[in-house]
C-alpha cells in the first residue's frame, strides 16, 4: 500500500465521519468544529491530487474565513446546545428526498462523464488556474464577484445603524 492510498483512505474516513457529525451533533459549536475538520480533510484530498493552490485556498477561505464567521455567529446566539428538540428538522423527509435526488444526479454524472486522466500532474496549476479565470471563465468569475459585492452592500445596509 502506498502512502497515497493510505492517506486517501484516512482522509476519506475523516471527511465522512466529520460530515456526519456536523449534522448529528447537537452542540452547534461542536458542529462547526467538525465542519472545520471536514474542510481540512477536503484540503488534504486536494493535496493528494497535487492541486496545492486549491488546497491552500480551501484552508484560507473555508477554514480561515467562513467558519470563523460561522463560529462568530453561533457564539452570539443563546441556544448553542439545541435544547430538547429532536436533531432532525421537521421537514426531514422532503430534505432527504432532495438530497437523495442530488446524490443520484452526482452518481450519474460521475459514472457517465468523460474524465481526462493523466499520470503527469499539471506543471504549474496556479498559473493555469489564474489564466483560466481571466480568460475562459472570466464571465462567471465576474458574475460571482458581482453577487458577492451585492451581498456585501446588503450586509452593510442591514448592519447600518440609523441613529449613529
Amino acid at each position: 500500500m502506498s502512502a497515497h492510498q493510505l492517506a486517501f483512505l484516512v482522509l476519506g474516513v475523516l471527511i465522512l465521519v466529520s460530515a456526519l457529525m456536523v449534522v448529528t451533533v447537537r452542540n452547534l459549536v461542536h458542529a462547526a468544529l467538525f465542519l472545520i475538520l471536514c474542510f481540512a480533510g477536503v484540503a488534504g484530498l486536494y493535496v493528494l491530487l497535487q492541486a496545492e493552490f486549491l488546497a491552500v485556498a480551501q484552508v484560507l477561505i473555508y477554514i480561515g474565513a467562513i467558519t470563523v464567521l460561522i463560529l462568530f455567529g453561533i457564539m452570539l446566539t443563546r441556544k448553542i446546545t439545541g435544547g430538547a428538540q429532536p436533531p432532525l428538522a421537521s421537514h426531514w423527509k422532503a430534505a432527504g428526498a432532495g438530497a437523495g435526488a442530488f446524490l443520484l444526479l452526482l452518481l450519474y454524472v460521475a459514472m457517465t462523464g468523460q474524465w481526462q486522466v493523466s499520470d503527469q500532474p499539471p506543471m504549474d496549476s496556479t498559473t493555469t488556474l489564474g489564466l483560466a479565470l481571466v480568460t475562459r471563465y472570466v464571465l462567471p468569475f465576474e458574475l460571482a464577484s458581482v453577487v458577492l459585492l451585492a451581498a456585501l452592500v446588503g450586509a452593510v445596509l442591514l448592519a447600518r445603524d440609523e441613529t449613529r
Binding site: 500500500m1 480561515g64 470563523v68
Partner: protein
C-alpha cells in the same frame, strides 16, 4: 547545500526492510516538522522571550531577568517548568473538549508556518518549498483565529468571550490589508514560492520598491498577532486577559508560546519577503566566498550580542547576581564559533536571515515598550479606512506597473520616501498643541 547523509536516505533505509518505502515522504515530513519544532522554534521562542524581557527591562531602566543562568538567559525555561507543574484547571461550566483543544489550534498553526519558510539558501533549509508558499502562509496563519475564538467561548467567561470576539473581528479585518501588502513581492518576483521571492531580491531588496507595502504589512501583522498597539484581544486592563483568562498551566503556556512564535514569524516573513532574506546589504550582487560572508555575519552577530552584553554589564556591574557572567562569555564564544563554522560549511545564509529577523524583533519590543493601546473602534477604522485603501492603491500601482511597464509603483514609493523624509526633516521640529500645557 545538501548534507551528505540526507534524512530521506536514513528513513528509506529504515523503512525498506519493512516493505513500507511508500511511506518515506510522509515520515520524512513528520520528522522534518519535529526537528523544526524542537531545534528551531523552541529555542528561538525561549530566547525571544528572554530578549523581550531584557529589552523591556533596559528601556525601563531595569535589568530584566537576572537570576536563572547567566544574565537570566534560562528564565524562560524556569517559567516553562513552573507552568508544567501548575494544575491544569478546567472552569466548572467550560466546554471541556473545546477548551482543551483551543490552545493547540493556536499553537500548531504558529508552528506549521515554518514549513514553507526558507531559512537559508538551498533546499536544505526549507522543509517544503511549496509553489504556493505565500498563500499557504496566509492560509495557515488564519487558522489561529479559530483557536482564539473557541478558547474565548469555551471558557464560559464573559470577559474571555468578549476577548475572543474582539480578536476574531480584528484578525478577519486585518487579514485584508496584510494580504494586499503581501501581494507586492510575488508580483515583483513573479512567483509565489518564498525561496523564489528571496532569490529575486539579490540586486535590490523589495523594501525599497515596496516600502509602503512593507509598512502596511508590518502594521497589519502587528494587529494579526495582537502585538502592543493592537493587543486588544488580551488587553489586561480592559478584558482582564481576554480569551486566555481561564487558562492555566501548560495550556496557557501554549498560548504564550504561540504568541511569541507568531511575533518571530511575522519578522521572519518580513525578512524573507521584504528585507532580502539571506542577502547581505550592498553585497547582494557581488560574488562572495563563504569566508567573507561568514566574517561579515560574525561581525554583525558580535555587534548584536555585544550590545546586549554591554548594556547588561553597564547596568548590573559586577554584583554577585552576575557571578555567572563568565558563562555568558563562554556561550557567546561558542555561538561565535558555531557561526564561524556555519559560515564555512554554508549555513551562513541561515544566520543572516536570523540576524535580520532579530533586528525586527527588537523593533517589536521597542514598540512594546513605548506605545499605549488603541481602542477597538479606532483599530477597526484604522484598518478599514487607512490600511485597506493604502494597500489597494499600492497594489493597483504595482499591478499597473507589472502589466504595462509604466513605473507607477516606483513613483508611489518615491512619493512615500519623500513624505517620510519631509516628516523627519521638518515636521520633527513642530511643537504640538498638547505638548506644553499652561
Amino acid at each position: 547545500m545538501n548534507l551528505p547523509i540526507t534524512l530521506t536516505g536514513i528513513v528509506e533505509g529504515a523503512l525498506a526492510p519493512l516493505g513500507l518505502q511508500g511511506l518515506t515522504p510522509l515520515v520524512v515530513y513528520l520528522l522534518d516538522a519535529l526537528i523544526i519544532l524542537l531545534l528551531l522554534i523552541m529555542p528561538v521562542v525561549t530566547i525571544l522571550i528572554w530578549l523581550l524581557r531584557k529589552m523591556l527591562g533596559f528601556i525601563q531602566r531595569r535589568l530584566g531577568p537576572m537570576r536563572v543562568g547567566p544574565f537570566g538567559v534560562l528564565q524562560t525555561i524556569a517559567d516553562a517548568v513552573k507552568l508544567f507543574h501548575k494544575e491544569d484547571l478546567f472552569p466548572a461550566n467550560a466546554d471541556r473538549v473545546v477548551f482543551a483543544l483551543a490552545p493547540f489550534l493556536v499553537f500548531v498553526p504558529a508552528v506549521l508556518v515554518y514549513v514553507v519558510i526558507p531559512f537559508g539558501q538551498g533546499d536544505g533549509f526549507v522543509t517544503k518549498d511549496l509553489s504556493v508558499g505565500l498563500v499557504y502562509l496566509t492560509a495557515v496563519t488564519s487558522i489561529s483565529a479559530i483557536g482564539i475564538i473557541t478558547a474565548g467561548w469555551s471558557s464560559d467567561n464573559k470577559w474571555s468571550l468578549l476577548g475572543g470576539l474582539r480578536s476574531a473581528a480584528q484578525l478577519v479585518s486585518y487579514e485584508l490589508p496584510m494580504t494586499l501588502a503581501l501581494l507586492g513581492p510575488p508580483l515583483m518576483a513573479g512567483t509565489l514560492s518564498l525561496s523564489g521571492i528571496v532569490a529575486a531580491q539579490q540586486s535590490v531588496w523589495f523594501v525599497v520598491p515596496q516600502a509602503l507595502g512593507f509598512l502596511i504589512y508590518f502594521i497589519a501583522a502587528l494587529a494579526e498577532i495582537a502585538h502592543l498597539p493592537f493587543d486588544l484581544p488580551e488587553a489586561e486592563s480592559e478584558l482582564v486577559a481576554g480569551y486566555n483568562v481561564e487558562y492555566s498551566g501548560m495550556r496557557f503556556g501554549l498560548f504564550f508560546l504561540g504568541e511569541f512564535a507568531n511575533s518571530f514569524t511575522i519578522c521572519l516573513v518580513a525578512t524573507v519577503l521584504f528585507l532580502g532574506g539571506w542577502h547581505l546589504p550592498f553585497l547582494g550582487g557581488l560574488p562572495l566566498t563563504s569566508w567573507q560572508t561568514g566574517l561579515a555575519t560574525v561581525a554583525t552577530m558580535a555587534l548584536l550580542g555585544g550590545g546586549i552584553w554591554y548594556l547588561n554589564w553597564r547596568r548590573a556591574g559586577w554584583t554577585s547576581a552576575t557571578r555567572w557572567h563568565w558563562l555568558g562569555y563562554v556561550s557567546a564564544a561558542i555561538l561565535a564559533a558555531i557561526v564561524l563554522v556555519a559560515g564555512l560549511v554554508g549555513f551562513i545564509s541561515v544566520v543572516i536571515t536570523l540576524v535580520k529577523t532579530s533586528l525586527l524583533v527588537f523593533v517589536l519590543m521597542w514598540l512594546r515598550g513605548t506605545l499605549p493601546r488603541v481602542r477597538v473602534d479606532q483599530l477597526m477604522s484604522f484598518g478599514w479606512k487607512a490600511l485597506v485603501p493604502l494597500g489597494l492603491v499600492n497594489f493597483l500601482a504595482l499591478a499597473f506597473q507589472a502589466a504595462t511597464g509604466i513605473p507607477t509603483g516606483w513613483v508611489l514609493n518615491l512619493l512615500f520616501f519623500v513624505f517620510v523624509g519631509w516628516l523627519l526633516l521638518f515636521a520633527w521640529r513642530k511643537r504640538w498643541a498638547y505638548s506644553a500645557v499652561s
